[in-house]
């Protein structure tokens, strides 16, 4: 049995949640499984985890992992605000947000961007299926130009690419992946959690019920045919040693805030994940050539997250007591006297 506990002594089952109520085959369910794996392997303490979400099929998923953790399924498109507040209230929480493409790129676009701009310390996962699953298959704002709805309607708008938008804002961690690619998703989730600052992880996650047909660019088959990973990702947590037995020059090693490492093994052209302009170019090229570029696009470990730049104490604000918060009797009376 001891083989099946993680470094904080919990079994994998401790990271499970309620049974899913999503459609069989939904990409979101795969992501839930990747989440369980990542959190288990990382040894996240369930009580420190705060699972945040908006509204949508995707936003339901926090109920399906780490049942003993706290979570907040808020209102549509406003998860970033709730996450910001919760993070400020308690810096010790590990904020893990799950959203959909409708939730993020339609109604929630403003909040999404302003959260990135503030560099709130959290992991923000977009379960991106190019459609509104829960309201039955309308196009979302990430649907590609010319992509076809189940009933035949054609999308006439340019997509909003959450990764491109995040890069424009100087987001400190930007990655894209595919729900079917657990090998990539799991280390990316771990790295996102280890990163201090806003980590955006846009995971293409097919909606089998409404957007998995021919003509969709978010279907399993389209993604399988067009995915182009920019590097093999692996993650070494801070509590393990880094063994690099790759050929020199083939692997990039980036150290994260908590001492973990992310290792990127070159595939084809070398992508430097610390070069923002390169990241933008890679995305633009993918768009032009019709490829889905996946992997860690950009990482900046030098940016200060909001709570740090606000000089908040490490101790959660919510734990502070009267003594620490109220003016002393003396200060109070002196202050009042100043109004005379």
């Amino acid at each position: 049995m001891s083989a099946t506990i993680n470094h904080i002594g919990l079994p994998r089952d401790a990271y499970k949640g309620a049974a899913t109520t999503l459609c069989a085959g939904c990409g979101h369910n795969s992501i839930t499984n990747h989440m369980v794996k990542a959190l288990y392997e990382l040894g996240v303490e369930p009580h420190r985890l705060a699972k945040m979400s908006g509204i949508g099929c995707s936003s339901k998923t926090p109920a399906y992992f780490v049942e003993t953790a706290h979570g907040f399924n808020g209102v549509h498109g406003r998860m970033p605000a709730l996450t910001t507040g919760a993070q400020l209230a308690n810096r010790q929480l590990i904020m893990l947000g799950v959203s959909g493409d409708g939730d993020t790129a339609s109604i929630g676009l403003g909040q999404f961007m302003h959260m990135i701009r503030r560099n709130i310390d959290c992991t923000y996962i977009i379960e991106d299926n190019g459609t509104y699953g829960l309201t039955k298959g309308q196009f979302s704002a990430t649907a590609d130009l010319g992509s076809v709805q189940k009933k035949g309607a054609v999308n006439t708008f340019q997509p909003i690419d959450p990764c491109a938008v995040a890069l424009t804002l100087g987001c400190s961690f930007v990655a894209r992946s595919f729900s079917g690619d657990g090998k990539q998703v799991v280390p990316l989730i771990k790295a996102a959690i280890a990163h201090r600052g806003t980590a955006i992880l846009d995971i293409i996650s097919p909606c089998v019920t409404f957007n998995d047909h021919d003509g969709s660019t978010k279907s399993y088959s389209w993604v399988k045919d067009h995915e182009e990973s920019i590097a093999d990702v692996s993650f070494i947590p801070f509590f393990e040693e880094v063994h690099v037995d790759y050929e020199p020059g083939t692997v990039r090693d980036v150290e994260l805030h908590d001492g973990s490492h992310i290792l990127l093994k070159k595939l084809g052209e070398d992508h430097d994940p610390t070069d923002r302009r390169a990241a933008m170019t890679v995305l633009e090229e993918g768009r032009t050539t019709g490829h889905l570029v996946t992997g860690l696009l950009y990482l900046d470990t030098s940016m200060t997250d909001f709570a740090t730049s606000e000089h908040l104490p490490d101790r959660p604000l919510m734990d502070l007591t009267e003594d620490e918060l109220r003016l002393s009797r003396g200060d109070f009376h002196q202050f009042m006297a100043e109004f005379a």
């Binding site: 945040m52 926090p62 109920a63 507040g85 104490p313 734990d319 200060d331």
Partner: protein, 601 residues
């Protein structure tokens, strides 16, 4: 010069905004206050930054009346654009201090003019080129000081007080005042009957505070640690004061650590969302806004109600549907805030009536929010929030925080993890909660705005839904008894009652004195919270006629009271409404009551 009028007059300075007149106004106010005379300033400014008409009304009464007055005794006319209009507001026999060049061709003959060449004096007598425009306003202070007999010592004090942190500004300002003071002495002999005389005992221990300052201090004392806001008049100064006070009292001088996070959000949706997120995570959290922001907070307010998250929402009301008049006051968000959000949503609302209550209710709102695990709205208004009010010093809190029903790790161990987030264990409708981060496997649950059972699990069960909604009613009933009770003054021998709330209080106090003098004494109940206390119905039952006075068009609280009264009492209620954006004057209460109460009570 028979009939001396001493310490009972209203000065109105008509200037242009962005011209520095506000500093002059404050110095005049502080000088008079320093003489021991009660002051009640009202600033009427435009929704604009520079160049539009602004009025500063400074009312002085021996009794300390704090309501606005419609009639002006002394007009200081600085603004040619409003000169003719301003002149009309002066009472017969009143005084007009005006820029000499303004035409008096068609002017009234029943007032006393003191023309002063303000611009010329500024040009010739003020040396400082860069500050001339601002200092020009000080000249009027000097003239009025001369006119009313304000001693130089009071002016000196006021200037020093005003420039506490900028002592270099003191001499130049005093000099400018002196220009006006001398001009008065050298050019006029007194033709009017107004004068100020030092008083003792009345303003002792009193301070001058704006409601938004009071609320900011209250929030700090209430232990706020997360505040999110978006700028909007007239609420901005609440959070701006909070930031300023926090710099002073919440920053560790050694480490630079800040024991509060104040976020300027991208809009009000985000602001209230952040506050709710923080409240959920266990912080004392708040946001502050005004009308349009309240509208934008509607969806999140419903989440707060239904998911039962503590949060404090300040609404510093201004007038108007939509953008309306951003710099004018009203009490017209009460009804909307009370049921803010779709579905059967209902909130706790606090209605401070004085700046002292702005402080106390701001502070205690965090306790109520925690105790009842729900949004608490504090409804102040522009008049309370942005004007200076004379007040006794606020009291230091005598109670620790009430964090409500929070289960700690130890509690959960004691309960062997057996608890249910939304169960009504105590029969008061208020369930127990745990906070994220609590290190116990039973602590975690999934908060949601969708249907949930006692254990916070998703459900679409009709029974569970209805039962939960019924519990929320019980919770509101519990709160009804716990919120600040009405303040009742039934000292009058009278069958006539008056009900008011919020900043209307000032006018009511004055109106009651006048009505008593006119042999129509009225008793008074001041509502301080929603849902309404049972005391309201009882008060009505003890009176034949009860006037509900409020500053909105639709009689919003009049309606709320009618809905809570036993039907037999409903016909006793009468509505008095004032809704032109100016703070209600006592006359707006006295006149309708005198009219309908022809026979003395």
């Amino acid at each position: 010069m028979t009939n001396q009028i001493t310490n009972d007059l209203t000065i109105q300075a008509a200037t242009v905004n962005g011209s520095g007149s506000q500093t002059a106004n404050l110095i005049l106010t502080r000088a008079i206050f320093h003489m021991g005379i009660p002051v009640a300033p009202k600033n009427v400014f435009p929704s604009n930054i520079e160049g539009l008409p602004t009025w500063y009304q400074l009312r002085v009464t021996p009794q300390g009346h704090m309501a606005r007055r419609d009639q002006v005794d002394i007009l200081v006319a600085f603004n040619v654009a409003t000169w003719h209009q301003d002149l009309k507001t002066v009472r017969p026999g009143g005084v007009v201090v005006h820029e000499e060049v303004f035409s008096t061709a068609e002017a009234r003959t029943d007032v006393i003019y003191y023309p002063v060449p303000f611009s010329k004096l500024a040009k010739t007598k003020i040396q400082n080129d860069t500050l001339r425009k601002q200092l020009a306003n000080m000249i009027y202070v000097g003239v009025v000081a001369g006119l009313l007999g304000i001693p130089w010592e009071a002016l000196d004090h006021a200037v020093k007080r005003q420039f506490l942190s900028k002592p270099k500004a003191v001499p130049v300002n005093l000099e400018a005042i002196k220009v006006g003071f001398d001009y008065w002495q050298d050019n006029f002999s007194k033709k009017d009957s107004y004068r100020l005389e030092p008083m003792t005992g009345v303003v002792d221990g009193k301070v001058l505070v704006e409601g938004n300052q009071a609320a900011a201090l209250g929030a700090l004392m209430g232990g706020v640690t997360v505040a999110a806001w978006y700028p909007i008049t007239p609420s901005s100064s609440l959070c701006e004061n909070l930031i300023a006070y926090s710099e002073r009292f919440r920053v560790d001088p050694k480490t630079g650590e800040r024991r509060i996070a104040v976020v300027q959000a991208e809009d009000e949706l985000a602001a209230v969302g952040m506050a709710i997120g923080a409240g959920w995570a266990g912080a004392r959290a708040m946001t502050s806004t005004s009308g349009p922001g309240i509208s934008l907070m509607a969806e999140f307010a419903g989440l707060g109600y239904y998911a039962e998250v503590p949060v404090v929402i300040f609404d510093i009301q201004r007038i108007g549907p939509s953008t309306g008049l951003p710099t004018r006051t009203s009490q017209a968000d009460v009804g909307f805030a009370y049921t803010l959000s779709h579905g059967d949503t209902k909130h706790l609302v606090l209605l401070p009536g004085t700046v002292e209550e702005c402080y106390e209710f701001a502070r205690d709102a965090f306790d109520y929010a925690d105790r009842f695990q729900t949004p608490v709205f504090v409804l102040s208004d522009l008049d309370l929030g942005m004007n200076l009010w004379m007040t006794p010093e606020f009291k230091y809190p005598d109670k620790p925080f009430d964090r409500g029903k929070v289960l700690s790790k130890a509690d959960l161990e004691r309960l062997a993890g057996e608890w249910a987030r939304y169960r009504d264990v105590d029969g008061d409708g208020v369930p127990y909660r745990t906070l994220p981060g609590t290190d116990h496997p039973a602590a975690g649950y999934f908060t949601r705005g969708s249907g949930h059972d006692e254990r916070a699990r998703y459900t679409e069960s009709s029974e569970a839904y209805a039962a939960n909604m019924d519990r929320l009613v019980r919770k509101l009933e519990t709160a009804r008894k716990a919120l600040p009770a009405p303040v009742i003054d039934e000292s009058a021998e009278s069958r006539i009652g008056l009900i008011a709330f919020g900043s209307t209080h000032a006018a009511v106090v004055e109106a009651r004195q006048a009505l008593a003098a006119a042999k129509r004494p009225v008793n008074y109940l001041r509502v301080r919270a929603l849902p309404l206390s049972a005391d309201v119905a009882e008060f009505v039952s003890r009176h034949d006629r009860v006037y509900v006075v409020e500053q909105n068009r639709d009689g919003q609280v009049f309606d709320l009271i009618r809905l809570e009264l036993p039907p037999a009492l409903v016909s006793r209620l009468h509505s008095i409404r004032h809704y032109d954006g100016q703070p209600i004057p006592a006359d707006a209460i006295i006149e309708p009551i005198l009219e309908s109460e022809a026979v003395p009570a």
